[in-house]
Each structure stands twice: as C-alpha cells, then as structure tokens.
C-alpha cells in the first residue's frame, strides 16, 4: 500500500514538473490558490460552505470511478482496496475540511469527513451509456467531444442569461456569454494525438485556418441565443455586446494558436503566462496572436506539408 501512495506522489510530481513548475512550488501555489479561492467564495456568497463540500465530493466521486475501483480490487485485493480508497478520500478531504474548520463550520467539516469515508466504500459509473446529441457532428472533434462533456454548463449559462434579462442585469448577461467562451477555450487546452494532426491533407496555414473557422462557426452557434437576447433587450449596449463577442473570438483564436505553438506538448507555463497577460490587458492580444501564429506554423511544419 505504501508503494501505491509513493507512486501517486511520484506521478503527481511528474505532472507538476511537466507543466514547468518545481513540485514544491506547485504544492505551495496549489495551497495558496485554494486559500485565496475559498476566501473569495466565502466573501461573495452565503452558499460558500456548500460549494466547498460539493467540490470536495466531486473529486472523491472521480476517484471512486468503477474502472479505477476494479483495478484496485484486482491489484490489491478487497481489504487493501478499501484501505487505499479511505486514505485517498481523507487526503482529498483534509484541505476542504480545514477550510470549513477555519470558518468555524465544525458540524459541516465533520459531515464532510464522514461522507468522504462513506464514498470510499462504493464505486460509481461516471460515464453515461447513451450518446449525447450535438449540433457539431458534421465537423468533429473539439466541439463534439467538448460539448458532450460540458453541456450542463451551457444550460447554466443560458439560464443565467434569461435571469439577466428578467432582472435587468446586463452585466450578468455579458458574464453568461463570456462563460460560453471560457468553456470553448477549454476545448483547446489539451493537445490531441499527433495522428489527428498528421491525418489532415493541409498545409500548416490551411490547417490552422480550418481549425479557427470551425471554432468561430461553432462558438457563434453557441453564443447566438445569448447575444441575440442581449441585443433585443439592451439595444443601446449593442457596441458593448459586439465588443465582448469580438474579445471572445480573439481569445478563442489565441487559445487554438497557443495549443499548436506548444504542440505536441501541452500549453506550458510560458504560453500560460502570455495568455494571463492578455487576459489582464486584452489589447495585448493583437501582438500575441501573430506571435503564436508564427510559432504554430513553424511547429506544424514537422508533420504537415507546406
């Protein structure tokens, strides 16, 4: 069992290293992010304790995924499997329970701890057996797979936009539109297998153009209900709506180009820092796009013919 946890630690350290951060610094940053985020959530909403509990449980549900549980059972046997799972859930629970304790929510911390141990005893299927329909089947794959993984967030974004219109909160409407863009950006955060780039009968330039065109078309389809709603109900803010739409597309293109500028590796710290700069000062994006574009073209030449 000790070997199992040693191996988990080694694997985690490797993942942090691969993202370009020293593991010790990574853990420190992770802890700091958790503290700052929890402070922010507790400052912003009265439901913060539920957010903390649900976040913790969602991590633990993933660890109880059926295939994973089957693997643990076949490798370590029944008794050790439960020991490992209980210990894993306690490790995941500790930071969240600590946050609740620091906020004097002792009862909630105890409940979370008990729930964590209970969850460890069960296995769950996290994937659905039926195929979720998508409007993007004609041009797989980023939006097709991404939509299926995140469609609930789209429902939330559309619901938020309806609320925004009902209560007359324009900012909330813009937020719901940006939420859609944020989700679509995540579809390009991980590189695909080399084969899925290689297979294209395109030059690097036409490949990138094709990717950006499809992304633009698909995100128009996803944002149009919100942007149209906002344009109808807030016609005087049309310039702001169009500006945010444009910013959304610019970031989407940046993300695609950043992905292929690092390809076949994942977007690493340098690209991440550049994107973070652009987020804090959006006009920078006009410099960043050509930079990532040139880098992507150079990078893709290795597997695509010019």
């Amino acid at each position: 069992m000790k070997e199992y946890f040693d191996l988990q630690l080694v694997m985690t350290n490797r993942k942090i290293k691969e993202s370009g951060i020293n593991p010790a610094l990574g853990y420190l940053l992770g802890l700091l992010t958790l503290v700052l985020l929890s402070e922010y959530i507790f400052h912003k909403t009265e439901f913060a304790k539920y957010v903390v509990i649900l976040t913790c449980l969602s991590f633990q549900f993933r660890l109880s995924e059926k295939h994973r549980m089957d693997f643990l059972l076949s490798t370590f046997g029944d008794k050790s499997k439960y020991k490992i799972r209980v210990l894993e859930n306690i490790i995941v629970c500790l930071p969240f329970a600590s946050i609740l304790t620091f906020k004097f929510l002792f009862l909630e911390a105890i409940i979370l701890f008990l729930c964590s141990i209970s969850i460890a005893l069960f296995s769950f299927r996290t994937s659905l057996n039926f195929t979720i329909p998508t409007p993007f089947s004609k041009n797989p794959f980023e939006f097709t797979t991404g939509f299926r993984k995140t469609f609930l967030i789209f429902l939330l974004a559309y619901a938020l936009s309806v609320i925004a219109i009902n209560v007359g909160n324009f900012n909330l409407g813009i937020f719901s539109m940006l939420l859609i863009f944020l989700i679509t950006l995540s579809y390009y955060s991980k590189p695909e297998e080399e084969f899925y780039v290689w297979v294209h009968a395109d030059t690097p330039k036409s490949f990138l153009m094709k990717k950006m065109m499809i992304a633009t078309k698909n995100s128009i389809l996803l944002t149009i209900p919100i942007s149209l709603g906002l344009l109808v109900f807030y016609p005087t803010y049309y310039d702001l709506i169009l500006l945010f739409l444009l910013i959304g597309f610019l970031f989407l293109w940046t993300m695609i180009l950043a992905k292929y500028s690092a390809f076949p590796s994942e977007i690493n710290l340098p690209e991440g820092i550049i994107i973070a700069f652009a987020l804090s000062f959006p006009p920078l994006i006009l410099l960043i796009i050509p930079y990532f574009y040139t880098k992507s073209i150079k990078n893709l030449r290795r597997i695509l013919n010019d």
Binding site: S127, N129, T131, I132, S137, K138, N139, P140, F141, T144, T145, R148, K149, E192, E193, E194, F195, Y196, W198, V199, H200, A201, D202, R302, I303, N305
Partner: protein, 226 residues
C-alpha cells in the same frame, strides 16, 4: 512506388533502424515481420513522416502522407466521439465530404455509440473502415489482424487483396504469419533494427521455419517446465 534508401533512425544514442533499403511497388502487398522492438512501427512512422530520420524516403505520390492510410496497432479514440463522427473526422481531414458512412459500415459497427466504448477488435475495425473511406493510394497497416474476430479477419484479408487489385500499395506488419502468407507478395524481415532479408512468396514457408527456429531456440528448455 515508395523507395527507402539508407534509412537510419536514432532515439538518442540508440540506433533503432540501420541502413534500411526497401522498395514498395504499386499493386503489391508487403509484409514487415520481426520480434517486438525490431523497428517495424518506427519504420512505419518514418514512412508516414511522423519521425525524423536520416536517409531518403522517395514517393511517386507527393506528398505521400496525404494519400496514406495509417492504421496503428492500438488506435487512439477521443472519449466522447461516436464511431460515425470518427470516420467523418478522418474523411473531412482528407477533404472527402458526403461519404455515405452507414452504407459502407461493412463490419456492422454500432456507429452511433462512443468509439471509446468499443471492444479492441471493434476499435480496430472502425479505424480500418475510416482509412478505407479516405480513398488512399497507400496503406500502412500495423497489426491489422490483432484482436479482430475470425470472421472479420477473413473480410480483412479479402479487403487487402482487393486493394492490391486496385493497384494500391499495402504494407502490413503482423505476428500471425498465415495472414501474411495469404496476402503478401514479399516479406521483409527486421531484427533489432536491421533488415535481415526480403523473401518472395515462394519462400514464405522457409522464412516461417527460419523465424520459428531462431525465435524458439532453447528458450522453452530454459523454463524447465515440470
């Protein structure tokens, strides 16, 4: 025609392919055999342009990669993509639009289900269907018969013979010698990255016996089975 001249490939200091010279003609089927780690997959990746190498790979069809159907030993599938979408993705990539996928589903695959939920054999059949519908001129099939049921293996053998009839170039690696002797015109033997020999159809039996003798040797005795 594809011509490989003096091909060398290194991973760091490790030479994985040494002085490879091979010719692949149109309308012919070629087998590449060798133990695990002999360099078969690396050779295929070099031909596909997925690896850097020294030496030359010359093709009459340029760029070769745009006319090459590549089947990996263990094809990768995205987690939430259906069989039909996978085929469409690969066809779109080669600008082959409006393919009637349902009609051409010769292996009767459940195309509306997620490909990642398929069995090993079904995944392989899906990947084969996709590269066939791309209408390629050349095919590299790395272990196409592995994990596929016997009925589909028969279909696959017939497909390979049909591709040959259609004047395509087909390269196959397989650990099942009978599948190669049924389909190939010539077999290249690789051992530790070196091209040991090439054998024509009439000598396949001799090659099989030679490989058996070399591979088995006194290994079984070493086990001292009781």
């Amino acid at each position: 025609m594809i011509k490989i001249k003096e091909l060398n490939k290194y991973y760091g200091n490790n030479e994985v392919l040494k002085e490879i010279n091979m010719d692949f003609l149109r309308g012919k089927v070629y087998g590449i055999v060798g133990e695990n780690g002999a360099g078969k997959t690396t050779l295929f990746r070099c031909i596909a342009g997925l690896e850097n190498y020294s030496g030359e790979i010359i093709s009459q069809i340029t760029p070769l990669k745009n006319h090459l159907g590549l089947l990996f030993t263990d094809p990768f599938f995205f987690s939430k993509i259906t069989g039909k979408e996978y085929i469409r993705l690969l066809c779109n990539a080669r600008n082959k639009k409006n393919v009637n996928i349902d009609q051409k589903n010769i292996f009767d695959l459940p195309l509306n289900q997620y490909a990642s939920s398929y069995s090993t054999g079904m995944k392989k059949k899906l990947a084969i269907t996709a590269i066939l519908l791309q209408e390629n001129e050349c095919f590299i099939l790395d272990e196409p018969f592995n994990g596929v049921d016997i009925q589909s293996n028969i279909v696959l053998t017939e497909i390979i013979l049909k591709l040959k009839e259609l004047n395509k170039t087909v390269l196959i690696s397989s650990h099942i010698f009978s599948t190669l002797s049924d389909t190939c015109d010539e077999i290249y033997l690789l051992r530790k990255g070196e091209q040991i020999k090439s054998v024509q159809k009439e000598d396949f039996k001799l090659l099989e016996q030679e490989m058996k003798d070399f591979t088995i040797g006194n290994r079984i005795e070493k086990l001292e089975l009781k």
